[in-house]
């Protein structure tokens, strides 16, 4: 049965809305009694501790946790009830950094970034900085949710935005189970609209990539095999085309952690992550070339650390104090959730890394 999802863990007053509680769970139990090695112990085995930040390549900005959806596995715990929204002042501070940094990729995320009232202003200004790859992570349904968003495909096209969108499966049942009733049909319509303006077509420069993350307590399969299956099904069933599929592992935090515990899958899932640990994925984990900026301008090694309230280990804590030299070489803050990025072929916001 499809359940209609309406509230974030924060709104429900859940224990797991508290990041300290999540970190406690991730440090206790099977990791405390030595059944499984901590992430630090694991990377020490291959002399990869401490993980250090390299040169900044990707600046990822979370412009707010508000979203029109309440997906089962959202690591942000986003939803319509979340009021954390980046202000134009903070956006201006981000723009200063975007103009001066050598990062080749700017990645806007949320929530649904489009719901930030200053989203379009920010995109227009940021596009002027001429970064090589300007990503907006769109949940697709936002495009069909309200008339004021219907022109987003044209808006994205105008600013040469690279659209990256979540699509858990090519079937209605699996997609709606994870993301809510009706999400599949709206997503299909949105993808058709994006295709109609040129996004995702084989020879088009208008990049449209999809993100697949598993609908339950299992790891993603091989990214290129999944991409073939997605492409075949979407073109045959709906005439939809896209460029690449990013297969992303669900990290055991926030709503996915809540689900793992409630479904009694937590320990098995952590075993799966640890057993699939791949040292070569550690070499390329995204936290070493990415900086994540929160809605209120604070800096984190990745979006997951942002949600766990684990700030960067640096004197520089806020985008207004940004200093590339001071941030480079910083030690990455880790916990057991990091196993999610090093399992199998590895996982990042750009998909597999190994």
């Amino acid at each position: 049965m499809i359940k209609l999802k309406t509230q974030s863990l924060h709104k429900k007053g859940s224990d797991l809305a508290n990041s300290n509680r999540q970190l406690e769970i991730l440090s206790n139990g099977i990791f405390q009694n030595g059944e499984l090695p901590t992430f630090k112990a694991k990377i020490l085995e291959t002399s990869q501790f401490p993980l250090k930040a390299k040169k900044l390549e990707i600046l990822q900005i979370n412009v707010g946790y508000m979203c029109n959806q309440v997906c089962d596995h959202c690591h942000v715990d986003a939803g319509p009830d979340r009021k954390e929204i980046m202000t134009r002042d903070t956006m201006k501070q981000c723009l200063e950094v975007i103009k001066n940094t050598g990062a080749h990729t700017l990645d806007l995320t949320g929530g649904a970034p489009e719901m930030n009232p200053d989203f379009r202003w920010f995109v227009e200004e940021a596009a002027k900085a001429g970064v090589k790859d300007f990503i907006v992570r769109s949940n697709l349904t936002i495009i069909r949710s309200n008339k004021k968003y219907h022109d987003l495909p044209e808006f994205f096209k105008k600013h040469n935005v690279h659209v990256v969108s979540s699509m858990p499966h090519w079937t209605r049942g699996k997609t709606d189970k994870q993301r809510g009733d009706g999400v599949f049909d709206k997503s299909i319509k949105a993808l058709q609209k994006l295709n109609a303006v040129g996004y995702g077509m084989p020879d088009s420069d208008l990049r449209l990539d999809l993100v697949y993350n598993p609908s339950g307590a299992f790891l993603p399969g091989n990214q290129s095999s999944m991409e073939k299956d997605f492409k075949k099904a979407l073109i045959e069933d709906f005439g939809i085309q896209f460029h690449n599929l990013f297969a992303i592992t669900n990290l055991p935090i926030s709503r996915f952690l809540d689900y793992l515990i409630a479904s009694e899958n937590y320990e098995d899932y952590m075993y799966s992550l640890v057993e699939a640990y791949n040292p070569s994925a550690v070499e390329n984990v995204m936290c070493t070339n990415t900086l994540s900026v929160s809605w209120d301008g604070y800096l984190f090694d990745c979006d997951f650390n942002q949600m766990l309230q684990l700030p960067v280990n640096s004197k520089v804590k806020h985008i207004s104090e940004y200093n590339e030299e001071l941030l480079e070489g910083r030690h990455i803050v880790i916990s057991q959730h990091c196993y999610g990025c090093t399992a199998g072929a590895g996982s990042s916001c750009q998909g597999s890394v190994a």
Partner: protein, 111 residues
């Protein structure tokens, strides 16, 4: 010592069989890994075959392993159930086709 014949946690220890016979264990796992690589059949197709065989062999470890493996490869519930029906059909067909042998014998003895 477990008081039941099957313990789900034992599946994680499968690799330990190598400890008591390293050469054979290693050869088996190398072969096993090779079998499931992409080949003339996709890894996804192989996973579905394994799932069906897991049921006809009634191996609880294999059922757990290939239910999960199928999910990881994006296989739908409908595809998984159809694969099991294929196994069930062959299994029941294999029983029933022996009915011809029974008929032959009965006809010879009492025809």
């Amino acid at each position: 010592m477990s008081k039941t014949y099957y313990d789900p946690a034992d599946l994680r220890k499968f690799g330990n069989i190598t400890e008591w016979s390293e050469e054979l264990g290693t050869k088996f796992f190398d072969y096993y890994e090779k079998v499931f690589e992409e080949g003339a059949l996709t890894a996804r197709e192989k996973s579905l075959i394994a799932l069906a065989v897991a049921h006809t062999e009634q191996c609880p470890y294999c059922i757990d392993a290939y239910s999960k493996d199928s999910l990881q490869r994006g296989v739908t519930k409908e595809e998984m159930m159809e694969a099991i029906h294929v196994g069930a059909a062959i299994k029941s067909g294999a029983t029933l086709v022996h009915g011809v042998q029974m008929m032959n014998k009965v006809n010879k003895l009492d025809g």
